[in-house]
Symmetry: C2
Subunit: 188 residues, 2 copies
Amino acid sequence: MEEVLRRQIEKIVTLTDEEFRFVLTHFTARTVKKHQYVVQAGDPAPNDHFVVKGLLKSFYTDDLGKTHILQFAMEDWWISDPQAYHNKVNATLHIDCLEDTQLFFISIDNREKLCVELQKMEYFFMKKTTAGYIALQRRILSLMSQKAEERFNQFIQLYPTLLQRVPKALIASYLGISRETLSRMSAH
Amino acid sequence: MEEVLRRQIEKIVTLTDEEFRFVLTHFTARTVKKHQYVVQAGDPAPNDHFVVKGLLKSFYTDDLGKTHILQFAMEDWWISDPQAYHNKVNATLHIDCLEDTQLFFISIDNREKLCVELQKMEYFFMKKTTAGYIALQRRILSLMSQKAEERFNQFIQLYPTLLQRVPKALIASYLGISRETLSRMSAH
C-alpha cells in the first residue's frame, strides 16, 4: 500500500528510501467501507485523501436538497474539500465512498510541516494543485460551452474506467445533465 | 509600480529589500492599451500577468464562434492561460485589455528558477494557486447549483467594482446567462 503512494509522489519528484519513510510519517492509512463518509458538510475537514484502492465522490447539497457531484476519485487520485482543508473552516461538501476504499490521508498541518522540512514535497504539491487548477478550468469551459452530448463524450474519453464503476445517475449529476438525457446517449 | 507588486507578495511572505530586488529581476513591466491582446489562442503563452492598474479578460471562442468569458482581472489579480503557461503548450484562451493596463509579467521559466532560488516564493505561488483552485471550485458549484439571479447577486457581492467597470454583456457571458436576463435583473 505504501508503494502506491511512493509511485504517486515519484511521478513528480525522486525520493530516497529514507526520505520516503520520513514522508510516510506524515500520512495515516485508513480503510473505509462503501457508503461511509470521510467528510461531512458542517464538520471540520482537515484531511486530504490519496486513494490507494476504491472510489469516492464529493458532492454539495443545495438549499432545496438537490445534490451536485463535484468530483470522483479513484486509485491514484486525491480528494478533499479544498476550501475547508486549506482555510481550516468547516466543510461545505460531503465526501463518501462508492466502493470499499483504502486510502492515506494527510492533515493540512502535517502537509505544511512536511513542505517546510522537505522542499521537494512543496514542489510535488504545487504540481498537483496546478494540475487540479487546470482540470477545473477545463471543466468550467465545458459547463459553459459544451452541449450535454459533448460533455458526456469528453467524460468517456477522459475517464473510461469511471463509466464502468459509477452509477449513471451520479455521472449525470457530475455532468449537470438529466438522467434521461444520459440514458439516451449511453444507449448508443 | 514596483511597490504594488511588493505589497501583493508581502500579503503572504515577508521580503527584505534585497530579496525583493532579486524577485523583481524575474519580472518584466509592460504597458498595454485597451483592446490589445496579451495572449492569443494558438500562440505560445509563456507568461503569467500581475495587474498593477487596469482590467483584462480571458475568454474562449468555441467552434461556433461564440465567446465565453472565463475570468476578469483588475488591480492586484493575476491572469494567464494556465494550461498553456504551466504545460508549455499553445494557448486555447485569448486575453485582452478592457482598459489601458500596466502589468508585470513573469515567464514560466523565470518562475521556476525563482522558486528554486528563493523558497518563500514557491510558498507564495502555492498559496495563490490554492486560492485560485478554491475560487474555481466555488464557480463550478455556482454554475451547477445556482439560478441566474443567485449567480448575479453573488457576483455583485464578490466583485462590486467589476459591475461598474465591465460592460453588462461581458458579465452576462461570464455568468453564463443571457444579456436580456441580466438587464432585467440589474434594473432592480
